[in-house]
Amino acid sequence: MTSRRTAVKTLGVALGGTALPLASMRSAFAAEPVKVGFVYISPISDAGWTYQHELGRREMVKALGDKVQTKVVENVPEGPDAERVFRELAQSGHKIVFGTSFGYMNYMVKVAQQFPNNDFEHCTGYKTGKNLGIYNGRFYQGRYLCGLVAGKMTKSNIIGFVAAFPIPEVVMAINSFIRGARAVNPKAEMRVIWANTWYDPGKERAAAEALVAQGADVLTHHTDSTVVAQFAEQKGVWVCSYHSDMRKYAPTKQLTASEEIWGGYYTKTIGKVVDGTWKPDNTWGGIKEGMIDIAPLNPAVPADVKAMVLQAKEDIGSGKRHPFEGPVVDQAGKTVVPKGQNITDDALSKMDYYVEGVAGKLPKS
C-alpha cells in the first residue's frame, strides 16, 4: 500500500512539472504541500496571455516553495474538455484550481458546485460562487500609458490597432489607448482593423500591413501572436506590444508594452489557501495592486516623455488619475461621462462605443 501511494505521489510530482529534487520530496511528505492546478487556454509559448500566467505561477512557486505543489494543464479548449480537466484536478486532490480563460466560466461554475470542498478561481469571468472567486486585470491602465508614449512619438498622427473581437475588453483597450495618445497629442487618430480571430499570424500581419500602408507609424494589437511586433521591426514603425514585453521580436522598435503581472496575486491568493483563510473574492487589479505594468521604455523616448509617463503611472496607481476620467466623449461627440466624474467599473466593463479620436464604426458584437 505504501509503495503504491509513493508511486502515485511520484507520478503526481512528475506530472506537476515542478522539478522537486528527491531530497525535498521527502520533506514535502511531512508538510503535505497544497496541490494547485492551473488550466491554460493555449500552449505556454514564450510570450502572450498564457505565458504571463505561467510567469506568475513560477513566481508563486518560488515564493511559497515546498508549501505548494502545482500542476499545469496547457492548451485546454473552452469546451467540455475544460470541464473534464477541472473535475480531474479537483478529484486528484488539487485544493485550488485556476482557470485562465473567459470561456471556462460555465464549466468552472458547474465543477465548483460539484466539489464544495475545493476552491476555484476564474480569470476574466463574472460568475462567482461559495467556493469560486474571480480575478482580472485593469488592462486599460497599461494601455493608457502606452497611448501617452505613442501620442508623443507618432509623426503621422495615425495609430494602428490590430484587434481581435469587438467585445468590451478590446473596445476598452482601443479607447483607453487613444485617450492616452490624445491627452498629449490632440491630433492623434486611431485606426482599427478587426481580425475576428485571437490568433492567425498571417492575418494579423496582413492587418498590420494595411494599417502601415494607410499611414500608421505606431502599431499596437490585441491579438495573441508576436507577429505585429515582428512586422513593426521589419517595416521600421513603432509598436506598443500587448500581454508581454516583446523586445525579442522588435528589439529596436518596441516603444513599450502593456504587461499583465500575475505573480503577486497568485502568491497572495495561494498563500491564503495554505493558511486556510481563502475566501472567494472579486478582484479587478491594476497598477496599484501590481497586476498591470509597462515594459521598459525604448531609449529613443525622450527623457521628459519618460518622466511624464512614469508620473502618470504613479498617479493612476495612487488613484489620482483615471484613464477614463470625465469628460469622456464618444465618437459622435456625446458626453458619456461628465467632467469631474470617473467612469464606473460597471460602465467600463460594458463599454460598447468608440471615444473621440477613433476612426470608423464599431461593429456590433
Binding site: W194, T197, A206, A213, Q230
Partner: protein, 310 residues
C-alpha cells in the same frame, strides 16, 4: 485612393494567395490520380516547422524550402502506404494525418517558439518591376511567388499536354482500365501523392519563412483546409486554383484595407471577415454552374481504393 495603397493591396493579396496556390496545385495533381488527401493542414504545418528549423540552422531559405518539400513528401509517403497498400479509408486517414501533422509540428517546434528569422528580401525583376502600380505588386515578390506561377504553368502542361499526365488522369478516371493496359496504378498514385505532399510542404514553408518569418504553433491557421476547398471549387482546373486563391487573398486583404481606412462604413467586420469565403464560393459557383464541367473534371475514382486483381 492613391496608387501606393493600390499597389500595397495587390502585393499583399498575391502574398496571401501564394501558400494556397502551391498547396492546392499539389493536391490537385494528387486528386487527379484518384487519391483524396485531406491531410493538407498537417502537411503544411510539417513543412512550416521543417523549413523554419533548417533555415534557422543553415541560414539558407533555399535549403529550408527543400527540406520542407522532403518532409512533406515523407509524411505523404506514410499516408500513401496506409491508403494505397493497406487500402485504408482515405478520408479517415487524411483527417488523421491533418491532426497528427499539426501536433507533430507543435511538438518539434517547441524550442523554436522564440526564434525569429531575419526577413528575406523580395526578388526584384528588372524592368518589369518598374511598371507603375502592378509592377511592384507583381514583380517585387518573394521567389516562391514566381515559383507558384511556374508551378501552375507546369501543372497545366503536365496534365493536359504530356503523356505521363494523360496516364495520371486515366488512373484517376478508371484505375481498372489503366491497370488493364499495363500501367501500375499504385506507382502512379504514390508519385502523385508524394508530389502533393511536397507542394504542401513548400506551401507551409512559405508561411514560416516568407509570410511571417517565425514559428508558432497553429500558424498555418486553417490554410490547408482552404487549399483543399479551392481544389473542389476550381473544379480541378489549375488556372482556376490560381484565380480562386488570389480572389480569396484579394478579398481578405481588401476588407482589411477598408477597415484600416477608418471610413465610417456600417458593414459589420464579422461579415467582412466572412467575405473572402463567400466571394470565392459565389464566383466559383458561377464559373462552374455547368454541371458537365464538374462531372468532366472530377476524377471518377476519387477517394476509392484500388486493389489490382492478382
Amino acid at each position: 485612393m492613391d496608387t501606393t495603397i493600390l499597389t500595397s493591396i495587390f502585393s499583399a493579396s498575391i502574398v496571401a494567395g501564394t501558400p494556397l496556390i502551391i498547396a492546392a496545385l499539389g493536391e490537385l495533381v494528387t486528386e487527379k490520380s484518384g487519391v483524396l488527401n485531406l491531410g493538407l493542414e498537417g502537411l503544411m504545418s510539417i513543412g512550416a516547422i521543417t523549413g523554419f528549423v533548417v533555415t534557422n540552422h543553415s541560414g539558407s531559405p533555399v535549403l529550408g524550402v527543400l527540406a520542407a518539400m522532403i518532409a512533406g513528401m515523407a509524411a505523404s509517403l506514410v499516408f500513401a502506404i496506409i491508403v494505397l497498400n493497406l487500402t485504408a479509408n482515405q478520408v479517415a486517414t487524411g483527417l488523421a494525418l491533418a491532426i497528427f501533422g499539426v501536433g507533430l509540428a507543435a511538438f518539434v517546434g517547441k524550442p523554436y517558439e522564440s526564434v525569429a528569422l531575419p526577413p528575406i528580401e523580395p526578388l526584384h525583376i528588372p524592368l518589369l518591376s518598374s511598371i507603375p502600380v502592378i509592377g511592384p505588386a507583381l514583380f517585387q515578390q518573394q521567389w516562391l511567388v514566381y515559383f507558384s506561377w511556374l508551378l501552375c504553368a507546369g501543372v497545366i502542361w503536365f496534365l493536359y499536354r504530356s503523356r505521363p499526365g494523360l496516364v495520371l488522369r486515366a488512373v484517376g478516371e478508371s484505375p481498372t482500365s489503366a491497370h488493364a493496359v499495363g500501367y501500375s496504378v499504385l506507382t502512379i498514385r504514390y508519385l502523385a501523392t508524394m508530389f502533393g505532399g511536397a507542394m504542401a510542404g513548400i506551401g507551409g514553408a512559405f508561411m514560416s519563412l516568407f509570410y511571417t518569418p517565425m514559428w508558432s504553433e497553429g500558424m498555418v491557421a486553417g490554410r490547408g483546409w482552404i487549399a483543399l476547398a479551392l481544389v473542389v471549387f476550381a473544379t480541378w482546373r489549375p488556372l482556376r486554383v490560381l484565380i480562386g486563391a488570389y480572389l480569396f487573398g484579394g478579398v481578405m486583404i481588401a476588407q482589411l484595407f477598408v477597415q484600416g481606412s477608418g471610413l465610417p462604413i456600417e458593414i459589420p467586420s464579422q461579415f467582412l471577415s466572412a467575405l473572402p469565403y463567400l466571394a470565392t464560393v459565389v464566383v466559383l459557383v458561377i464559373i462552374s454552374r455547368n454541371l458537365n464541367t464538374i462531372r468532366l473534371n472530377s476524377p471518377v475514382s476519387l477517394g476509392q481504393s484500388f486493389r489490382p486483381d492478382a
